[in-house]
Each structure stands twice: as structure tokens, then as C-alpha cells.
Amino acid sequence: MRVLPCGDRALLVEFDSLELVLGAHARWSAAPARGVVELVPAARTVLVRIDPSETGLAAVEHWVSEHPPQPLALADGDIVTVPVAYDGDDLASVAEAWECSAEKVIALHSTIEWLCAFIGFAPGFGYLVPAPGQPALPPVPRRATSRPRVPAGSVALAAGYCGVYPRESPGGWQLIGRTSIELWRDDAERPAVITPGTRVRFEAVSS
């Protein structure tokens, strides 16, 4: 566990594994220290944001060091099947990165089972990794320039993750297809359909 500076209102705590991130987020969000207003779990880090009128960074750093996490495995959640029309603009560049055909990219992507590791970027945007026991896929770099508009439902790859854009937004991931299912509902009790632990299968459909 390493504590990195992050301005005057936050600390970024870095871990060696996603399991430690999950453990830290679970432990700290169950009983947050006074003045901690937001915990942002990601791949290897938890951002701890404070209200500076309520607490100080030294106090929170002390609290963090007194509450080290135990590794926590991803809960085995529901299975969500996502139908995909594999006609993304970057399918060819992914095929090039993987040194295979576009058909093979589709076959690989839709054969393995994915697992949501965390949500980041935008509401309901789950970072999906191949589920334990599934073959890892070669990483795909982010695009050199991000697109100002990625359409809602775009299925994309970058840096070892797969994600589905729940809404239209800017984005720098490689687009391989589109789905028509809704992954975020403002008024639902659980607005995000895919949450950490959700298993996801992609199913090729004609566009």
C-alpha cells in the first residue's frame, strides 16, 4: 500500500492487486473516517477525497495506514448477456494488434466470459476483465486521439479491459461493436446494470 499525494483534498492509495483495492473499498466504505466524502476504486488505486472543512490529509493518511485491507475476491454476481453487432470502426485495428482476422476478434471476444472489476469513467461504465480461468486477451492500446463522441452502446477495448459506453460520451477506447441494451437507468434502485462482480457474456448478432 502506497499513499500518493493528490492536491489538498485527496490521497491516492495504490495497491499491488485489484483484490486489495476491492478489500480497501469494502472496508473503508463500510465505516469511513469523518470528513471522507468520496472513495473512488479503480484498477490499482482507491482515491480518498475529503471535505477539508471536516478533516485534514494527515489525519486521513493515519486512518488509512491503521486500516489496511485484506484481499477480497470479486463476488460471483449475476450473468448479463449483451447482444453485440460487431461493426465497430476500430475492429480492423484490434485485429491488427492481435495479428488475426476481424472474425477471430469477434470469436475471441464473444466466447470468453467477462467479469466487471470496477466502474469508472462514466455512470455504469464497467471495466470488464476476462473471468478467472478464461484465456487472457492481448492488450489493445487506447487510441492516440480520443473521439469527441462515442455513441451509446458502443462496445470497446483498451489496455486489457472491455467496456460498454452506457451513454454517448467522449472516449479513447477502440470500438468493436454496438449493443442496443440499456446499461444505465436513472430512476432504477440499482441504476447500473453491470456492477463489480457481474459476469458478462457477449453474443454476436447481425446489425
Binding site: 499525494p5 492536491g7 489538498d8 495504490e14 473512488v40 466502474i119 462514466a122 487506447r142 492516440a144 454517448e168
Partner: protein, 306 residues
Amino acid sequence: MSGHVEVMDPGPLTLVHDLGRPGFAALGVSASGAFDRDAHRLAQRLVGNDETAAGLEVLFGGLHLRLSAGMWVALTGAWVDASLHSSNGTLTVPPHTAVFVDADAKLVLGTATHGARCTVALRGGLDTARVLGSRSRDTLSGLGPAPLRAGDLLPLGPEPSTPVPVADLVPVDPPPLGLVELEVRPGPRADWFTTEAHEVLLGVEWRVSARSDRTGVRLELASTSTVSGTPLERVPARVGAELESEGMLRGSIQVSPDGAPTVLGPDHPVTGGYPVIAVVVDASLDRLAQLRPGQPVRLRRATGRA
């Protein structure tokens, strides 16, 4: 004061805002909320509302609203020439002053002369639907009420229990037109950048890019700058390296691969993959909201304890 206000002309961009929806980052939801938080709180207090009431954030002015007799309105943040037009004549609406609407009237905001975002508070607050506890429009994620359009009717909440405070003069200077200083502290990836990059970051006069919005304020080198090539270079070991996505903050200064800094605004993505070299401190954050395209900016290392 319940009732409605009618949008006659929203100007370039008018959004409903309160103080945002912190606490949902694990769902991918940013806190969002008023960009100029102090202006928002002051405007709400001036009309006797709770600071958490919702008002309007008007980009560059230009908003026209139809108000009814008996309403109270106050403007803060960016300075605009504003007036109320009614059968009783024309009344100037000065900044930082609660103004009583004595007859059905049209509120007309001119173009912002100082700053970029004007806050409009109405007594009772806007009573639009909440999403995850807030009425704020998150422009990146699309959560919250849509940007205003002509013809929209905005409901007001009930009369607050607190009266409109008596305040003869609220001494607040207009947002500056010239050089703005923002204080920063080191970010988590400060060590990804060369010593020269840090010197450039804190040494040059930056210009606010026209491609700035609530997601982020982009900083560019002035055309007269002597810095050439990539302004903020990474140390050799980090060139081309990919950062695992990590939590971002309002005020985080992300450096994209082309070496240009962007200061994240209230509607920033919850996580991002570009390294953060420094973070604008809390006390400087509201100034970001009032930066105009082309305005000069200097970043200064904050002193004292965090």
C-alpha cells in the same frame, strides 16, 4: 414562492445546478454541481434559500426569463448587464443583490463582461426532478435536467422559512479579466514528468483554450511562448507507458500524450488514464469557472500545510 419561471431564451448554455451529487463515484457518477460554488452559495443566501437549493448556471449570459410578480431574484458569479422589464418600467439588476419582482416581468441578461458563468438564484429554488439526490446537470454523463430550451417551464419550490436577508452591499469583486493565478499541489503522477516539465508548468503563462468546458479547462501555450515541442515531457522511463485508470478529482491536471495540460472541471470522468502532474487546490477551484477563452493563467505552487 411556488410557481414557474418560463425560459424565453436560454442564451448559449444555461444549466440547472445545485451543489452536486458526491458519493456515487463507485457507480461511475461524478459529483458535478455548480462550477463556481461560492457564487452559487452566495446567490442562494441572497434570496433566503438554503445553500443546497438549485439555481441556474448561465454560460456567457444571454438568458431571458419570464418572472411573475412576487418573485425574488439574485445574480452572482460572472458580471452581466441585467434588467427587469415590466409594465412598471425597466429596473437594473445589480450583481450580488436580491431584487424583488413587483410586476410580471422579463429578466434579460446581457453578455458577460467579467467572468464566464453567471449564477441566477430564485427564491424557493428550482424544483426540478432530482437524479441520485441532486438537480445538477452533469454535461459529460447526461445525468440531471437537460440544458434549458426556449419554452421550458421551471417550477419553483415553496417559500423558504428564512426571510430574504437585509444586505445593503455584498462586497465581491467581479471576476478578473487579466492574469489569473491558480494554486496547485503535487499530483499522484508528478514523478512521471521531467524537472523541465515542472518548471514549464509553473513557469509559463498559459492561455485558456476555447475548447474548455465543465469537463475540463484546457491550457495552451501563448503563441509568443518560447517553449517548443511537447510542453510537459515525461521522464524517459514513462514515455509511451499506459497508466491504469485511476480516480480523478475536480482540479486534477491531466497531461495527455501530446504534453498539454487539462484542469478537470466538475463534470470530469470519475476515472482517467492520463497521468495527473498536479492538482488545483480547493481555494482556487471556483476561479476556474470564470476563466474566459484566451485568458492568461499562471499556476503557482501552494505554500503551507495541506
